[in-house]
Chain length 211, copies 2
DNA sequence: TTTCGTATGTAACCTTTGTTACCAACCAGG
DNA sequence: CCTGGTTGGTAACAAAGGTTACATACGAAA
C-alpha cells in the first residue's frame, strides 16, 4: 500500500504496519457517495488522494457545503459516529477521483490508547473540523453572497491547483444554498469587473481575481 | 464536592475520585467570561450547574451564538484545544449563576486511556457539539429570521425552565447577529399574533407560542 | 420629582437576495 | 443538419432584512 507513504511522517512505524494490515484501500469516482444521511458508519475514511466534499441537508432538501477534505485528512465526524454507533448527519461525496483508506471502527478505538501518534492525529483532526465548521458559520452568518462566492472559487482553485474551475452555475448555487439566477448574476458582475472569464461549465480566474 | 453527584451515574468510581482530587470547582456569575478569543485554554470546563453560552466572533466584531452548554455537558472544543495547546476560537460566557469543574489539561489525556467511561464521555461530547454546530448552520443557512427567533426563545425557555424570558431586544439581536430594530419588529408581530407579551427586558411566552 | 441613560416602537427607505419568466447559446445523438 | 436537453443571460418584480432617524417609555439615582 504505497499510497500511505504520505502518512509515514506523522505515524509511528508500528501504526503504519497496522494501517496496512487492517485498512482497506478504496477508490471512488467523481460523484460517488462515501457517507450519506441516516446511514450507519462502520469505517472511518482517511483520504489518500483527491478531494472529498462534505454536505449538510435540511428537512426541505436544501443542501449546503460544509467543507472539503483533502490528502491525509480524515472525517472526525465519522470517527465519533463510529464509536457511538450513530447515524450520519452529513453526506460525503467524491470530488473527482478519490482514494481513501477505510479504517474499521474497532481499530479506531484500539489504536487511540496504543499509539500516541494516532491519538494526536485524531485530536488534530477534531480541531481542524471544528475550525472548518466555525469558518463555515462565519461565512454564512456574516458575509454577503458575493464574498462567499469569491471564497468558494478560491477554495476550488486551491484544491484543484488550477485557476480553471469546472462547475456549472447550478452546482455552485447548490453548494452555496442559493439559486442559479443569483449565482449567474454575481458571476457576471465579476466578469464585468475583469476578475474572471465565463465559459460553459467553466470559470477562468484571472490575475485580477486575487486582489 | 457534592455537585459531582450528577456525574456519578456515567463515570466509574475511580474516575470520580480522581475528578474530586484534581478537578477544581469554580463559581461564576452572569456575564463572567470562561473562555475568550485568542486565549490559551489550560483546563476543560465540565458544567455542574447553570448554563454556559458559546459564541463566535468575526473579524468585524460581530458575534453569533453557537450553542448552550448545560448541566453535565462540557466543551469539547476546549478539550481538543487543550491537547493541542491552541488558542480558543470561541468565547464562553456564564448565563446566570454557573458552577463548573475545571479539569487540568494533563489529566484529560491521562484519563482517556485509563477510564473507558471518560473516553466515552468525551466522544459523546464531541458528537453532541458537532450536532449543535450542524443545527446552528442549518438554522442560519436555511431558516428565516422569524423562525430562528422563535427557536431561540424556545431554547431560552427550555434552559431556564420558565416561560418568562429575561433579555433585551438588543441582546437577542446580538446573539442572532442582526440589528435591534429587526428584532423589535419581529417580536411585535409575534405579540400581535397573540404568541407573546412584551415588557421591558422581559418577554412572556403565551400558550399559543408553542403552536 | 426631575433627570438621564437605557429600552422600545415605528416609519421610511435602501440593499441584498429570491422568484418567475423567457430567450439564446451550446452540445450530443439521431 | 435537425432536435431536444442542458446551460447561461437578463429583465422585472417580490420579499426579507438592514439602516437611519426620531419619538416615547421606563426606571434608577440624585
Amino acid at each position: 500500500m504505497d499510497e500511505s507513504a504520505d502518512l509515514a511522517f506523522q505515524f509511528e512505524p508500528a501504526l503504519i504496519a497496522e494501517i496496512e494490515e487492517f485498512g482497506e484501500l478504496r477508490s471512488f469516482k467523481d460523484g460517488d457517495i462515501i457517507m450519506d444521511y441516516g446511514k450507519y458508519i462502520r469505517m472511518m475514511p482517511l483520504v489518500v488522494k483527491g478531494t472529498l466534499k462534505v454536505l449538510k441537508k435540511d428537512d426541505n432538501g436544501n443542501e449546503i457545503l460544509l467543507y472539503y477534505l483533502s490528502s491525509s485528512e480524515s472525517c472526525s465526524m465519522a470517527y465519533s459516529c463510529c464509536l457511538e454507533e450513530k447515524k450520519s448527519e452529513v453526506k460525503a461525496i467524491a470530488e473527482g477521483d478519490l482514494q481513501l483508506i477505510a479504517i474499521p471502527h474497532n481499530k479506531l478505538d484500539e489504536w487511540l490508547c496504543k499509539y500516541p501518534s494516532w491519538k494526536n492525529y485524531i485530536m488534530r483532526s477534531f480541531n481542524e473540523r471544528f475550525s472548518e465548521m466555525l469558518k463555515s458559520i462565519e461565512s454564512i452568518a456574516f458575509h454577503k453572497l458575493d464574498d462567499r462566492l469569491i471564497a468558494y472559487l478560491k477554495e476550488k482553485k486551491r484544491l484543484s491547483g488550477s485557476s480553471l474551475i469546472k462547475a456549472s452555475h447550478y452546482q455552485i448555487a447548490d453548494e452555496l444554498a442559493t439559486s442559479r439566477v443569483v449565482i449567474s448574476r454575481l458571476l457576471k458582475i465579476l466578469e464585468n469587473n475583469g476578475k474572471i472569464l465565463l465559459y460553459r461549465n467553466e470559470i477562468k480566474l484571472l490575475k485580477a481575481f486575487d486582489s
